[in-house]
């Protein structure tokens, strides 16, 4: 078993007044020590897929799958208590906006130490040493000072780097990053991505990078899944994005305005209802 994660036929369902709504419909993929991008528009089920892996779908939402294995061991059958041991320690998740992920009344350093001590039995001073080391690893200058700062005192980019430090400190095997840079300015985005990239590579982790930005994902990942209406419509090697076959992927690429290739009218994506009915491509 060389795969970190194996998913077969994953469904996420939400009961509504008008019947059951399927947010994710039969998604299958496996993840090795690689960077996998999941791209789609809002409502495509990309975030739900990420949450379903960590079993973070709240009731009445339901997750079913033929297979949801972490290193060959089933995740779906585990109790909520066992899942708590998985979250953070084996699979961690970075959300979109650091403003909402960091506790506003706790110093950032304390939050990192605590995250570490939750999974590793170490002394407070050891945890602090390790946290400062981690802050250094995410390219924060003067980590001692930042350790004692409150979340409102740090910028968005720094906040997201702190989140990365916090998520990586228990040394997880897989990191799920859900739109980790969409709340950041373009110039900061690249820096945060580079740091994340380096850490993931150095530690031999698997990364699932969820984003709406096709270009960003392709420049950053090894493989890309394109999701539409809860299904994977196409899977591509990231450097072969321009060879995309599916009209949806092509449409997405062509609808972007390009600074280097101006045109009078942007191509508008014509949605074909048949796309939603095609079987999900497995990857």
């Amino acid at each position: 078993m060389s795969n970190l994660l194996d998913i077969e036929n994953l469904w996420v369902k939400f009961p509504t007044r008008n019947g059951i709504f399927d947010a994710v419909r039969g998604v299958s993929f496996s993840l090795g020590k690689e960077r996998l991008g999941i791209v789609g528009e809002s409502g495509s089920g990309k975030s739900m897929t990420g949450r379903a892996i960590l079993r973070l779908i709240r009731s009445p939402g339901m997750v079913t799958a033929d297979k949801l294995d972490l290193e060959g061991v089933d995740l779906l059958g585990r109790s909520e208590k066992e899942m708590r041991g998985v979250r953070g320690k084996q699979i961690s998740m970075i959300m979109q906006d650091p403003k909402f992920s960091l506790n506003p009344v706790m110093r950032v350093g304390q939050q990192i130490s605590e995250a570490y001590r939750l999974h590793a039995k170490v002394s407070k001073s050891e945890a602090k040493r390790k946290s400062i080391e981690m802050l250094e690893a995410v390219a924060i200058r003067d980590p001692e000072r930042v350790y004692n700062m409150y979340p409102h005192e740090v910028s968005g980019g720094m906040g997201q780097r702190i989140m990365i430090a916090m998520m990586l400190i228990p040394d997880p095997k897989i990191m799920i990053a859900d739109e980790p840079t969409s709340a950041l300015d373009v110039s900061v985005q690249m820096q945060v991505l580079e740091i994340m990239d380096k850490l993931v590579k150095d530690r031999g982790m698997g990364l699932i990078f969820i984003s709406h930005d096709l270009n960003l994902v392709s420049s950053f990942c090894d493989r890309v899944l394109i999701m539409y209406a809860g299904r994977v419509v196409e899977t591509l090697a990231a450097d072969k994005l321009h060879e995309a076959q599916h009209p949806y992927t092509q449409g997405l690429l062509n609808s972007l305005p390009r600074l280097d290739a101006p045109k009078d009218r942007l191509q508008v994506l014509q949605r074909d209802p048949a796309w939603a009915d095609e079987p999900s491509v497995s990857a």
Binding site: V186, M190, D239
Partner: protein, 252 residues
């Protein structure tokens, strides 16, 4: 003659020690029928300039003119008939309890129009929404449809100038393309003047012919879109912005 003229504009919030200068000595000019873009990162003061023009930022000095008339501390209803604004987030710019019909008919009646029914149908048609959308509430609309309603509201008083505050940043890329196409069509049909704010150089580049780059409240450089595409820029910050936004596009 320029339709919008801004000279040495300062906008600040708070007084004395708490004073924060959002815009410092900004000058720009947009010709009639032209499209001007303001680019910068969050907190650079680009949206504040739009708000100052619309009278939503009360403390400012300097000179602002629209259509040759200098702006004072208050805006009249005739000003709002001439200049309208589209907000960034269509999820926040529509009243959650008002239907599309209510939004448009209130706007039209505030501006003293009589033939409200026919105008609503026309407006919905202009922004590419059919009459079936007329009695829907915002929660029954997608993000792109909401932004179309917001654009219809801005078009209702038949303005000459439209200020666009990141009109597509909250939308999916495929919807962004639809809205950008709509904006170019409307500009041609209604001979509008645009002043657009965005953090996305490609979006601004698609709509605008002249672009000002803002950093920390100041306009650091004003250049044409051709100069920008050719990377003919003087300022290091502009270069930095261009490089980071071209990076993704090059790989594709």
């Amino acid at each position: 003659m320029s339709e919008i003229l801004i000279e040495d504009l300062n906008v600040w919030f708070g007084e004395y020690e708490e004073r924060v200068d959002a815009v410092k000595g900004a000058s720009l000019s947009v010709s009639k029928g032209g499209s001007f873009g303001l680019v910068g990162e969050s907190g650079s003061g680009k949206s504040t300039i739009l708000r100052a023009i619309m009278g939503l930022a009360p403390t400012w000095d300097g000179r602002m003119e629209v259509g040759g008339e200098p702006l004072g501390p208050k805006r009249s209803r005739t000003f709002y008939r001439k200049v309208q604004m589209v907000f960034q987030d269509p999820y926040a710019s529509l009243h959650p309890r008002h239907s599309v019909d209510q939004v448009l008919s209130e706007t039209l009646s505030l501006h003293g129009f009589k033939d409200i029914d026919t105008r609503i149908t026309k407006l919905l048609d202009d922004v590419g929404l059919g009459p079936s959308f007329r009695f829907r509430y915002p929660h029954q609309l997608s993000g792109g449809q909401r932004q179309r309603v917001a654009i219809a509201r801005a078009l209702a008083p038949e303005p000459e100038v439209l200020l666009l505050d990141e009109p597509t940043s909250a939308l999916d890329v495929s919807v962004q393309a639809e809205i950008l196409n709509l904006l170019t069509d409307l500009r041609d049909e209604h001979s509008l003047t645009y002043l657009m704010v965005s953090h996305d150089l490609a979006v601004v580049g698609h709509i605008c012919s002249d672009i000002a780059v803002m950093q920390l409240g100041e306009i650091v450089e004003t250049l044409t879109i051709d100069d920008m595409r050719a990377m003919r820029t003087q300022h290091s910050y502009t270069k930095h912005l261009l490089e980071s936004s071209l990076l993704g596009a090059k790989l594709a």
